[in-house]
Symmetry: none
DNA sequence: TAATAAACGAGACGGTACGTCATGTCTTTTT
DNA sequence: AAAAAGACATGACGTACCGTCTCGTTTATTA
């Protein structure tokens, strides 16, 4: 166990500062007032700017660290017996995470930051987007093992559709995704795509 | 009828300035050097800042006007005989529009701008996103008229999937969408989706 | 007689505009709010900027024209029998003209404008300052004719002292000059200054 | 005793920046090219605008600080045996200080600035004008002690006349004051003024 | 009575400087 | 060391005026 890095010299990094920075960053962006700036974070966290710069390359990275933890903690990929039921469960968990306005604002802000900083985009992808995809693919490969996976919609496209719809909605409107959307999406992804025109879809808003 | 605005008094707006501002804005953001600023646009267009502020509320709106024109001009929704063929054609045209790096950069930048300015987001939605959706829905309603539209994927979800995939890809990676993706997507959207015909889709919110 | 400029073609200069510009300029500067700008004058006078630029080179000149008229109208140099009485009368008239805060503000503003525009300073000197001096020198030369003029204080120095004190007070404080000051100043300028002619001037550096 | 400010925390004010700002301001205004602007000062001093705004409320205050130092350093009020000799000495020193065109330009510019900013005028008065008057009054009170002071010209009027003539000349013309003017002025101020000793001077406000 | 011409209001234009804000770096003192 | 405090150079922001330049309209003089 122990061993743990050879115990560096000097004062140790303040866990208190770290946490108050992460919280300040999230709170500021969640509140929606536009003062999401390094100076604003420092002021709200009661911390010097230098302390932020010492540990994170950009304010986007602060946000990223803050959000990645939340997502990992709140979305499971447990087995519910069938591909479709797993999917519905996954989607509902995800939609629930996105219910608070502040969370959506934070994610939108992070995605926006990443657009004019390629390095941050990379870290965002690896530290967040790909982890969400990996979670989804646990479900997919379990379905594959079960022989549950339909032939039409496979591979990366599944992730592109699921997260595509989620992000597109989040970025372009304030309209939330809900349980009904989870059912329709799961249905689409599990249907074999082989012709029984007798079914009638429900009317869409 | 006529109507003909009553011919206002003073000097008229300079069409030359207007165009050079739109082009300068697009060029700057397309070049990727991060100097996409009002001052940069003004300098490159040979125009005073005030002239920009007089006609557009934010630099995002300049970009929006510049991009909306391009998209309208380059994507048609012509009839190719079947829903699937129409879709493939639409998707390929769209993917082609997005081929140049500069166009993608401009769209990503605009989407990013819109994230911290709700008013701009509104204008972006109405002036761009909804117009793209409307184009797609011409194809959809033609399919409906033909009796070509499968029961599973209908209504707003079609747009959410199509544009969701496109935007998600564009915002999170540099990987282009191509002809193969067009076929798979079109196939998905046209398949009846009835592996388990007993299921009934729940109503969508 | 007549002669009268050969009567140019076209519309004649609008006396109404001219007056409302002069008044607007004076009022703005007298009110003390800092909006003493060409645009402000135009707006308040209900006139276009071009009309101001057509007839005056700078806003200082507008003010100059406005003030010169007032001074000429209100200060006479009538004969009151002695040099000293003429002086006292002249000073009191001048102090009275300067009593309204707005007049002082306008003069101060004009003097200030003239400091960073040599051409305007020239016009200010000729159109205002020298005219005030000339008025004073009517009194002085009348005294000379009478044999009333003391030997000590003569020539330009008289003007420098009188207007020096007036302007210095006006520019550096809000303290008004009054009747008592007129008496002391007149006394100083009329005293022979010959109590002890044996005095020797000190060596000059 | 000591008192010694408790040694504040962060980085200390840069004396180098302070001095180059003061010099840049003076040089710019002395050169007469009209680019006496905050941006110009910053550029010439190799300093950011923010650093100027941090320490001085207006560019006039920069100039004031620059000029006050010079005047304090160059004008003494040493004892030359008599009131008149002291005065002549004081005047000649002052005239000498004003000999360089740049110094006059700077003072005129400062006086002009102060005219549309009452707060600056206050600081100008206390930080400059009143200090010059105080210097002069050292001479006057020494004369009083000696019994040297003539009855006619006393109190504030002395300062008003001396500085009135100086400023009026400086603001309204380019004609320099010289040794001859010093003699005449000193003579005027030291003459007993008793052509008609029966008259009594009125008290000055 | 038509043509010509100057002056007018309105208002857009290219500019310059303003004063403010946020960035990322650096320096000093404290823990 | 690491932290808080805070000064620094940089650079963009959005605003205010500057002086110039069209426009369409009005008023006068000349043909």
């Amino acid at each position: 166990m122990s061993s743990e890095e050879p115990r560096r010299r000097g004062r140790r990094r303040s866990e208190e500062s770290r946490l108050s920075i992460l919280n300040a960053a999230f709170d500021l962006v969640a509140d929606g007032g536009q003062e999401f700036t390094i100076e604003g974070i420092a002021a709200r966290a009661g911390v010097s700017k230098q302390t932020i710069y010492r540990w994170w390359p950009t304010k986007g990275d602060v946000l990223l660290e803050s959000l990645a933890a939340r997502a990992d903690a709140q979305i499971s990929t447990s087995d519910h017996g069938s591909y479709e039921r797993d999917l519905v469960h996954f989607l509902n968990q995800t939609f629930k995470l996105l219910r608070p306005r502040g969370v959506r604002r934070a994610l939108r802000s992070l995605m926006a930051e990443a657009q004019h900083n390629p390095d941050l985009l990379l870290r965002f992808r690896e530290g967040f987007l790909e982890r969400r995809r990996a979670a989804l693919f646990q479900i997919v490969s379990r379905a594959e093992d079960r022989g549950d996976l339909p032939p039409t919609v496979r591979g990366e496209l599944i992730g592109d559709i699921v997260f595509g719809v989620i992000w597109y909605r989040m970025l372009s409107t304030e309209r939330l995704l809900g349980a009904a959307d989870a059912l329709v999406l799961a249905d689409l992804l599990t249907s074999a795509g082989d012709a029984d025109p007798s079914r009638v879809a429900a009317p869409v808003t």
